[in-house]
């Protein structure tokens, strides 16, 4: 929302636009009030060195058809000549001349540059070149009577001004107007607010255009007839103000309509009375009913749209959004009927959204317009139109229809000073409230410790005690509110889960694995490409179709990352992610849970197992690798599920070759994906101390020949059991398949470190362990290799 300082000053005054310190102070005050100033644009600063000059004569360049030599008089009696590419001026015209040394708004400096050996003593300027308009078709022609040698800006009446671009929050519909911003600023600065729009009475004879409201989404509709209208152009200052705030000047009637909207925040619409017939009806649209709006677009309406119709029930406006093209003011218009209405915000928002049509009017209506503004808006409209229509007559007898949708006008709320101080941490007295609230229209009557506050009609957002407390805070000043630090009764800490999650990350980092953060939203076929079955939750309004499914696994994201890295010749990358997956439950919230995914490019399944063992040891959790169940999307002979008791908590092994192909990864990829919510919540990390033996240890190496059908870890567990309690550690240090070992079998060589806690080991101890191991192994069909 843009406001113009000179316009604000009509309500103030607040600052001289040429005083940059005063301008900065206004910006700071607006920000302190919650009207964040996003940009301060200085306008109308004249380009120094550009003066009015009279064209004396124009000569065609002998060789270049498009170049003319122009002699000008800049008022100093000296005859100068400039080269010029434009041809829209003749002798006698007054034009802007940029004299030598002038720096133009685009940064160019005017130099004595010649053509064909003849100097140019300046440059004639178009409106664009001076930064004051969009017309670049020719040289800007000034008033022919202008005094020569004075600044073009003085001739044009351009004055320095400042545009503040404000970020107006949704709770401040009043600040969609110059007056609303000025009201806040004047209150903040303890200045009086000038009164606008009470200067024109309806003294013409009574002429009524009847109004019928059929839909309460229209709360109020006034129609005022004005005659003696002459459609012409606007005074320069009106056109310039509109343009400064981003609206084009059209003609005096439309411009005044826009001016009143910008100034008071009241959208309004002037219809050519001749096109309206005998009255307005405000009703719901019929499905499919078409209205051509002012922007020349045919709008097909639905029943939720509100139409303004003429006496023949022909739509002439999309209520609160935009007028119709057919009832537009034209040059032949002499009588207008001015609509000033109030519409319910929600309906306007829906209609504007539905039609993709955000107009200045709808922007205001959907936030909430002051329902009492109509009378002042009519007067202001007439006052300004009379500047160009001296014969303007405002007819009495205007229609003022209201429906049950009209907002309550007498609204009040009780405010306890104790509540103000509790919420703000201030020490205000009830007597302080009127000084803070009355200037912004929250009229306050105090009684004891309670203030009864009348809520202003331009603040529909304010309905409750806390809304008023916010106004007190704003005008007291957020910066003046003290600072204290509350004292929590508990102590700050991370939860067990959070501490263990950090520990898990540390373990992974220590293993040389880096953290990735892929997008949890994937394409509809991504899971399938990863070989993972199952329905996903869908994004119903995705921005791009490729991001419309919620992942069931972290693997696709990690594989995509590996493919990217491989593509950039980074092979052997190890990545992990800790993130959520969202398997649907059929209805309601998904069974969202936290998962760890690890991918090790260029590594085989054993590497994934080594990572898992380290994690399991660090977190004090356990799970069996069950290769009889191959998880979806994993390598058929090199993978298994992780099983904790009866629950499958993860998958481990290698990515299936066809999945690697789907993701464009050429390296072998070891993978671990395991659900961690339960692991983190469990208390496994705090194992108790096991004393370290001071006795000497002895190593026993045993190699067994065992069928490929039996998992090595079964033998390991059997050995552990058999060697306990003398076993300190057991490691698999060699595997062998080949000569000397039957097909379908392999040799597994284990080193058992034996140690007693209280004595030296004897040969008999070692022999006993060996015998026990042999016996245990034979139960698995494993034979000691001699």
């Amino acid at each position: 929302m843009k406001v113009l300082l000179s316009w604000l000053n009509e309500f103030g005054p607040f600052a001289d636009p040429t005083d940059s310190e005063a301008v900065a102070a206004v910006a700071a005050d607006l920000t302190s009030l919650g009207l964040a100033v996003e940009d301060v644009i200085v306008t109308g600063s004249p380009v120094g060195g550009v003066v009015a000059a009279k064209v004396l004569r124009v000569e065609q360049h002998p060789d270049a058809a498009k170049v003319r030599r122009v002699w000008v008089d800049a008022g100093d009696g000296e005859e100068r000549h400039v080269w010029c590419g434009a041809s829209n001026m003749v002798a006698g015209d007054v034009v802007p001349l940029a004299t030598l040394g002038t720096t133009m708004p685009n940064g160019m400096t005017i130099e004595r540059r010649g053509i064909l050996g003849i100097d140019s003593e300046g440059m004639l300027c178009s409106a664009v070149e001076l930064g004051i308009g969009e017309d670049h078709s020719g040289i800007l022609l000034l008033d022919g009577d202008a005094k020569l040698g004075v600044s073009y800006a003085e001739v044009l009446g351009i004055e320095p001004d400042v545009v503040f671009d404000l970020d107006v929050t949704r709770n401040r519909p009043d600040c969609w107007s110059i007056e609303g911003v000025a009201r806040d600023l004047a209150a903040w600065r303890s200045q009086a607010l000038a009164n606008v729009g009470n200067g024109f009475s309806a003294d013409g004879d009574s002429r009524t255009v009847p109004v019928a409201i059929q839909n309460p989404a229209c709360g109020r509709f006034t129609a005022t007839v004005m005659s003696g209208v002459r459609v012409t152009s606007s005074p320069d200052w009106i056109a310039r103000r509109l343009e400064a705030l981003g609206m084009r000047s059209i003609n005096n009637v439309v411009d005044v309509s826009n001016y009143v909207m910008l100034e008071l925040g009241q959208p309004n619409h002037a219809y050519d009375l001749a096109t309206i017939g005998d009255g307005f009806t405000i009703r719901s649209a019929r499905d499919g009913e078409v209205l051509k709006t002012l922007d020349d677009v045919d709008r097909a309406c639905v029943v939720d749209d509100l139409l303004i119709c003429d006496g023949n029930d022909v739509p002439v406006g999309l209520g609160g959004v935009m007028g119709g093209a057919d009832s537009e003011i034209s040059e032949s218009t002499t009588e207008v009927v001015l609509e000033i209405a109030w519409f319910a915000p929600l309906g306007i928002m829906k209609t504007a959204t539905r039609h993709g049509l955000r107009s200045e009017a709808s922007a205001r209506y959907e936030r909430g317009v002051d329902p009492t503004l109509a009378d002042r808006a009519v007067q202001r409209f007439a006052e300004l139109l009379s500047l160009t229509c001296p014969d303007l007559v405002v007819h009495s007898g205007s229609a003022d229809e209201r429906s049950e949708g009209m907002p309550e006008l007498e609204r009040s709320v009780e405010v306890r000073i104790s509540e103000v101080n509790r919420i703000l941490g201030t020490e205000l007295n009830v007597g302080d409230l009127p000084g803070l609230l009355d200037p912004i229209g929250f009229v306050t009557e105090t009684a004891g410790e309670i203030a009864k506050v009348l809520l202003p009609s331009w603040r529909p957002d304010a309905t409750s005690e806390v809304d008023v407390i916010e106004e007190v805070a704003r005008h007291f000043g957020y910066e003046r509110i003290g600072r204290s630090v509350p004292k929590p009764t508990g102590h700050g800490h991370l939860s067990q889960v959070q501490i263990r999650r950090r520990h898990l990350r540390d373990v992974l980092l220590g293993l040389g694995i880096s953290e990735a953060m892929p997008n949890p939203i994937v394409a509809p076929d991504t899971m399938q490409r990863a070989g993972i079955a199952g329905d996903t939750l869908r994004i119903l309004n995705p921005l791009v179709a490729d991001e419309s499914s919620l992942r069931l696994s972290l693997r696709p994201g990690l594989l995509t990352a590996l493919a990217h890295n491989e593509h950039h010749r980074r092979n052997g990358v190890s990545l992990f992610e800790i993130g959520n997956v969202y398997p649907p439950t059929g209805d309601g919230l998904p069974s969202e849970h936290e998962v760890l995914g690890v991918v090790l490019a260029g590594r085989d399944a054993h590497a994934a197992v080594a990572v898992w063992r380290e994690i399991a040891q660090a977190l004090g959790v356990g799970a069996m690798i069950d290769q009889s169940n191959v998880p979806d999307g994993l390598h058929a002979t090199r993978s298994g599920v992780l099983r904790a008791g009866r629950d499958v908590i993860g998958a481990i092994g290698e990515i299936a070759p066809e999945v690697l192909e789907n993701f464009g990864v050429t390296e072998r990829v070891a993978v671990l994906e395991v659900r961690i919510d339960g692991m983190l919540a469990s208390n496994g990390g705090s194992g108790s101390y096991r004393p370290i033996s001071r006795m000497p240890s002895s190593d026993l190496d045993l190699a067994f020949i065992m069928s490929d059908d039996v998992a090595a870890d079964r033998l390991e567990r059997a050995l552990r059991q058999a060697a306990a309690p003398l076993l300190a550690d057991v490691t698999l240090f060699d595997t062998y398949r080949g000569a000397g070992v039957p097909d379908g079998y392999r040799s597994l060589a284990w080193r058992l470190r034996l140690q007693a806690s209280d004595r030296n080991l004897t040969d008999a101890d070692v022999a006993d362990v060996k015998a026990a191991c042999e016996a245990a192994a034979s139960k698995l069909g494993a034979e000691l290799r001699s």
Binding site: N171, L540, L543, H568
Partner: protein, 338 residues
């Protein structure tokens, strides 16, 4: 015999000095001091000396001989060991810059680094850390936060709606990807009694085209305090304490009025850098009475404040990252830098 002893010492010392290996030293030791060695033989023949005084004197001489030869042997042995070690060390010379080995550590994602640092700061200020689901109900994400159906502010959140079937209409299932971490406020209030001092970091989602400064999936941290007589002064003081703890001395904060449906009064908070420039950081305010009620908290008995801001931006600012999208490509060349 005395002469024999002297001669034996002299011979032994000469050989010891000449010995070039530990083995040679050992040989001298055995041949001099062993039972069959020269001194050993003399010691054995001592018993043949009859005169007691002479025997005693010779015994002393022999002991001295043993000890002086023994000391010489020990010295020479130590000398040879040291020489051998020096030779080995010399032969082991390495140019440390001929580096072919690479130690590899893993690297934490920048967002996680910022996330953990923020958690730590708030833990230090007495907060605990709460979490909540990323797929949320409309009620937790909007309605309980004072944005009932049709509330105009909903439109500003660019919500991604979730359903079980692509043909469902957006919003029908009541499920969505949370647009902010604020639903954790509601969950926390419903699950626990005040006093509440929590922060809730987490992943959030917006229907937003990615560009250099925006991602549709990003991260926020939310704070909520509900206690007796919590005021806006407490909010301002907490923001200030956070500012100094996280950004450092010389940074200050300010609140300026703003609007959020779930807080009132609402504020934006800005950080003032030591060079005087301002950084808009996040939103905050006093928890709206309707939000407290939705959380099952009586607004007449308790009051509270809430604040929230982006985590990604912290990482981006700290490391001067010019395009936020780079953080999510998972390019190892990026990850390894931090």
């Amino acid at each position: 015999m005395t002469d024999d002893i002297s001669a034996a010492i002299e011979a032994a010392l000469t050989r010891i000095e000449a010995a070039q290996t530990l083995d040679a030293v050992d040989a001298v030791s055995a041949e001099t001091m062993g039972k069959k060695g020269v001194l050993g033989g003399l010691k054995a023949s001592l018993s043949k000396v009859d005169d007691i005084e002479e025997r005693k004197a010779l015994g002393r001489s022999l002991n001295e001989a043993f000890s002086s030869v023994g000391a010489a042997i020990d010295d020479r042995r130590a000398q040879l060991v040291a020489e051998e070690r020096n030779t080995r060390v010399e032969s082991e010379r390495l140019d440390l810059t001929e580096a072919m080995d690479r130690a590899t550590r893993g690297h934490l994602h920048l967002v996680t680094q910022a996330w953990q640092e923020l958690e730590d700061v708030f833990v230090g200020l007495g907060f605990t850390v709460a979490e909540g689901p990323e797929v949320e109900t409309d009620w937790h994400n909007f309605e309980a936060l004072n944005m009932g159906e049709g509330h105009p502010a909903r439109g500003e959140f660019d919500t991604l709606f979730v359903g079980h079937d692509e043909h469902e209409r957006a919003g029908d299932s009541g499920l969505l990807l949370r647009t902010h971490t604020s639903p954790v406020q509601i969950r926390t209030m419903l699950e626990s009694e005040p006093p509440i001092y929590i922060v809730a970091p987490g992943r959030v989602f917006r229907r937003d085209t990615p560009d250099a400064t925006h991602m549709p999936v990003f991260h926020q941290i939310e704070g909520l305090v509900v206690d007796r007589n919590i005021s806006m002064a407490d909010l301002a003081g907490t923001i200030e304490a956070f500012t100094q703890a996280f950004f450092g001395e010389g940074f200050t904060s300010r609140l300026r009025p703003s609007y959020f449906p779930f807080t009132e009064p609402s504020a934006e908070f800005d950080i003032r850098r030591p060079d005087g420039s301002w950084l808009e950081l996040g939103g905050c305010g006093m928890v709206h009475p309707e939000v407290l009620r939705a959380g099952g908290v009586d607004p007449e008995e308790w009051s509270g404040f809430a604040f929230g801001f982006g985590i990604d931006r912290m990482a981006v600012m700290r490391h001067g990252i010019t395009d936020i999208r780079d953080m999510y490509v998972n390019d190892i060349r990026f990850i390894e830098q931090f």
